[in-house]
Symmetry: C2
Subunit: 645 residues, 2 copies
């Protein structure tokens, strides 16, 4: 059920879902309401006057009885349950003449459609690890074939399964297991990538356990690691959990991790750290999903090449040295326990293949999840994270590259940076005259810090309001106590400590903005360089797919305003969220994808930015908001000029 | 160089090799000379008179100066260096009228021709594990493919190698190894059995190590374990070593081993014991062959199904229980270290496939080594050991079975039984009037005991001389102190203690002979039953192949006389020696054989004697010398009748 909310005096209407909070509706519409507590109702600033319709809630001690009668409500406490008209009081309202120059309503990217039902309809819902129930003929005099032969022959003749083998560990268990189940057993079979490969029987269980077949998908990011528990029958995600990569204390980016790995037992240490993180995630999701370790048949894992080599305990030294050589870009299936992942002996680990030292399995996983390799539109795929990874292409060809963006997109290198969990400032607007903020936090909780997408919006809005300039420096002349210098660092106070959850003022600082500019600069210039290398330009891009943890939250106009994304119609941008995790999930659900992956890896051409002379020029040019070459951003340029007139 | 030796008064001539000892020439010719010290020259009884020609040696303090001048020599101390005529003195000579009734000269089986040059000529000399030297293009800017991809692509384009893969352990080592060798490396590749299978790269070494590629072949017998070190380039055996299977203290036959394995940690114990034995053999042969552990690329192993399961630590309980089911009859290649064999990480273990619980990899290995599956003659293959294994067939079909013979053939269950090592009594004849023996030991050393082939000859000669009857009981009426009763057990003194190496009289006892009769009975009746099951008879057999440790020593006529072998022309009998070991050796040298093996295993029909009603009847009939049904042995019957007339 959707309702229409009309904001006065702006005279802007927006359609919102039932029970949406009024303050989020305002943000959506691009209407500023002063609100500095993140939507928790404690600052009492977000007063609005309900002129038509009814609201659920919004009454507060911050409103006098008289005001309440007049129809004043706190926007952050009011849910929309009908079509309404509300008026923003003058004290929290900007000069209406300037309203239309603002960047307008919030535009987030649509999600890429990805549905297991589609796989099922296409007959592709065949997990790489399957269970088959076998009612074997019991061994008797006259039919005393070997236990293993009995299983294999049954699969051959009754299930049309061929090219079967099994390893010694399993053969050891079979004689007892087969009799424990009175010759009724369930076989777990791993499919080969190629149809002419071998099918490996990895487990035999007594009786029928086919109803319980689960997988785990893991995205190993440099900063964060996410895991999902999957029901391989339904494709359903039963549980999900993220953790910081506990290698982070040994370096924030891949280069510093590699340097650490090269010293003494550094490789051992980093290997153990990432395994610890993964095992913690596994414990959490198994507990939440009520699934036993032994019921997990598959774990699919994607990470960049450095994360992958550290995970597999492979010396990454040659990744960071010219000519940047990874040990391998494809890895054979192996038992998860071989790398100390705390799962059963039979659980198979599938590692996503990559392309090069700096274009790893995570981007391939995302590209696969996005499906861009199946379509004819020229697509720009951007995985926004500590490692910025970019792919451009369509069903006939694909190129890719990667750049080190630093951790700003993931809340790293930002004074109050945090992941997009409850209490993270995720949305922001600013009164261009009073410089008072409108703050919305994840979960409408008291603010704890700023997440990556919040940083992008903050920077864009500060730029539009002239609070910062195109170099990201604060205008020291503005008349507001929120802009101040602390320890010689200029900053803007987002939330005063009395309204935070951390009992400190939460601010955004010049170094924070500088880190963000460098991150977005790396990303944009990588895309520009890659396009230039293949003789194309930003204008040729027909579609953008955003991947990365904050893809679903990021305000597209803000991302364009700061020069992270090129100017493009918002409806041409879709987001994948964690594309790497999604690719892992699909990989665990359909073996058909694994075949596609090999084709994509083989057709993907990799460009090394370090070997591409124009990259540094493009990067230097991108260290401005939005860019030194403003012709790349004509609309942003026009809007900023109007706002500052 | 061969010479002719004529023995008088027998007037028998025999051709012998230069430097053969005169006493062995006499044994060869079937000429008895009293000799009770085994050929060591200490008893001084084997006096012969040289009438023509010259001998090297044979002078001894046991001969007076006068005798020496007359031409007397000790036969055991004299080497043949010319054509000669010697006369056996009357005191050690039998009644010449009876000479022709003796079983005649020694007939040992010819060796089955098995030559690596033949394999080479047929283009089959491609070991299952090969080394290939690669001069890779070093990684540079513009060619920075992954290390693993570089190796695989080089193999693909420069060596036409396809379907390659490698495991995680190896990928871990590659980045450093490839640079240690400055991109010059040697790849070790394991071939699949099927041509469409995968080639696995199991090792990468810096620089060119192709000249050093070695394999180990191991036959795991219930009683004895043999290992050979092989040069995989030349096919040469560089070293060989045998040890008793140290499981032996937990039971002499497979049934008692299985029973032990079923209790507590019995399986662990037996597994560890056989691995210890194998590791000891490996140490010996590597030391002798001057080969390093890391230079061994393959270990091929054959054993019966119980030995195989104990080796692989697989519960053998169901092997001994009806319906006698092994865990598997085929095993995938695996790393030798997986079962704690003390070889390098990359060494691949190949286990010979078997057919059933009682027809294991050892007999298949022997059948493969014999080549019988390639020829059209109907062949009886007999592997003579604690487990008697029999195969009958030719290139179009094959049947097999196994029986428990007990350890008598390998020196077990025999009071002075021992393996055929130095000091073992291996040949024997008896003066049919004085009952004085002629004893020859392995290596002409003082006697220590009796080996398996010695037992067969002893039993046959004692039977022919009427010292024992057809039930194997001593004739208590004969006038010789050599037949006596000790602790109520009848025995014949082969060597008095003053001439032994063990300071005890060495005897053959009635229980010894009884064990041998049961062993040969199991063997013969198994063959008879198997023939009957397929509607054939002993007469249809065109060829016999003997396998087993003593195949090369056994006197064929003696084996026929006691009823171990059917009556057949000696030239139709060939011996393989340790067929299982030979099959393992060939397996390590040519992958083509591994493909044949799968075909043979698939065409082999197994009969379970325990499920075959006539077996017990045949067995009972075979518990006589040679058999209750003397019509199976018409020639033996005729000869025994003449000898006893």
């Amino acid at each position: 059920m959707t309702y229409t909310v009309k904001f006065l005096p702006h005279n802007i209407s927006v359609a919102v879902e039932q029970n949406e909070s009024l303050i989020r509706a305002a943000m959506e519409a691009g209407v500023h309401i002063n609100a500095s507590c993140g939507g928790t109702g404690v600052c009492g600033k977000c007063r609005v006057l309900l002129e038509e319709g009814t609201l659920d809630g919004g009454i507060s001690e911050h409103l006098s009885g008289d005001d309440q009668k007049k129809g004043y409500r706190l926007a952050c406490q009011a849910q929309i349950t009908s079509d309404i008209t509300v008026r923003i009081p003058v004290e929290s309202q900007v000069d209406t003449s300037r309203l239309n120059e603002q960047s307008g309503g919030r535009h987030t990217a649509k999600a890429v459609y990805s549905d297991v039902n589609e796989l099922r309809q296409d007959g592709l819902f065949i997990p790489p690890v399957e269970k088959i129930y076998l009612e074997l003929a019991p061994a008797v005099v006259g039919d005393n074939q070997a236990d293993m032969a009995r299983i294999i022959n049954h699969l051959r003749f009754n299930h049309n399964e061929h090219r079967l083998n099994m390893n010694l560990d399993l053969i050891r268990k079979i004689p007892d297991l087969i009799r424990e189940g009175d010759f009724k057993v369930t076989a777990t079979i791993v499919r080969p990538v190629r149809e002419d490969g071998k099918n490996e029987i990895v487990n035999i269980e007594p009786f029928d356990t086919t109803a319980r077949n689960f997988g785990i998908a893991v995205d190993v990011g440099t900063t964060t690691v996410y895991g999902q528990l999957l029901d391989l029958h339904t494709g359903e995600v039963l549980a999900q959990h993220g953790e910081f990569n506990s290698q982070i204390s040994y370096g924030e980016d891949v280069i510093s991790r590699i340097m650490f790995a090269e010293k003494g037992d550094g490789l051992e240490v980093l290997h153990k750290k990432i395994i610890d993180t993964i095992n913690k995630i596994i414990r959490e999701i198994l507990f939440e999903g009520k699934v036993g370790k032994h019921e997990i048949t598959t774990i699919t894992i994607a990470g960049n090449s450095t994360m992958t080599q550290l995970l597999l305990k492979i010396n990454p030294a040659y990744i960071r040295r010219e000519p940047y050589v990874p040990a391998s870009v494809m890895y054979p299936p192996f038992r998860a326990k071989e790398i100390d992942i705390d799962l059963a002996d039979h659980t198979i680990a599938l590692i996503y293949p990559g392309v090069s030292s700096y274009v790893g399995g995570d981007i391939i996983s995302g590209v696969m999840a996005s499906g861009m390799y199946r379509f004819s539109e020229l697509t720009l795929y951007m995985d926004i994270g500590t490692n910025a990874e970019i792919a451009i292409g369509h069903k006939d060809w694909m190129v890719c590259t990667a750049a080190s963006a630093g951790p700003a997109f993931e809340g790293g290198g930002v004074k109050f940076g945090m992941r997009a969990v409850k209490g993270a400032i995720e949305d922001f607007s600013i009164n261009p005259e009073t410089y008072e903020p409108m703050i919305i936090t994840v979960g409408n909780k008291k603010a704890k810090g700023i997440c990556g997408s919040g940083m992008i919006t903050l920077t864009a809005k500060l730029l539009e309001a002239g609070v910062i300039d195109s170099r990201g420096k604060f205008n020291r002349t503005l008349n507001t106590p929120r802009i101040r210098q602390t320890d010689e660092i200029w900053e803007y106070v987002l939330v005063y400590k009395e309204n935070t959850a951390i009992d400190r003022d939460i601010t955004i600082t010049e170094p924070d903005i500088d880190n963000l500019i460098r991150a977005k600069g790396a990303m944009y210039s990588a895309a520009l360089t890659l396009l230039e290398e293949i003789g194309m330009s930003i204008k040729d891009i027909e579609r953008i797919i955003l991947a990365g943890g904050f893809g679903s939250y990021v305000d597209l106009q803000s991302a364009i305003t700061i020069g992270l994304l090129p100017e493009i119609e918002p409806d041409k941008v879709t987001y994948l969220g964690n594309g790497s995790l999604l690719g892992c999930k699909i990989n665990a659900l359909t073996n058909a994808l694994r075949r596609d992956v090999m084709n994509v890896v083989n057709m993907m051409t990799n460009f090394e930015l370090a070997s591409t002379h124009s990259y540094m020029d493009h990067y230097m040019g991108a260290l401005f908001l939005p860019h030194t070459e403003m012709n790349y951003f004509p609309k942003v340029k026009a809007r900023l000029e109007k706002l500052r007139k």
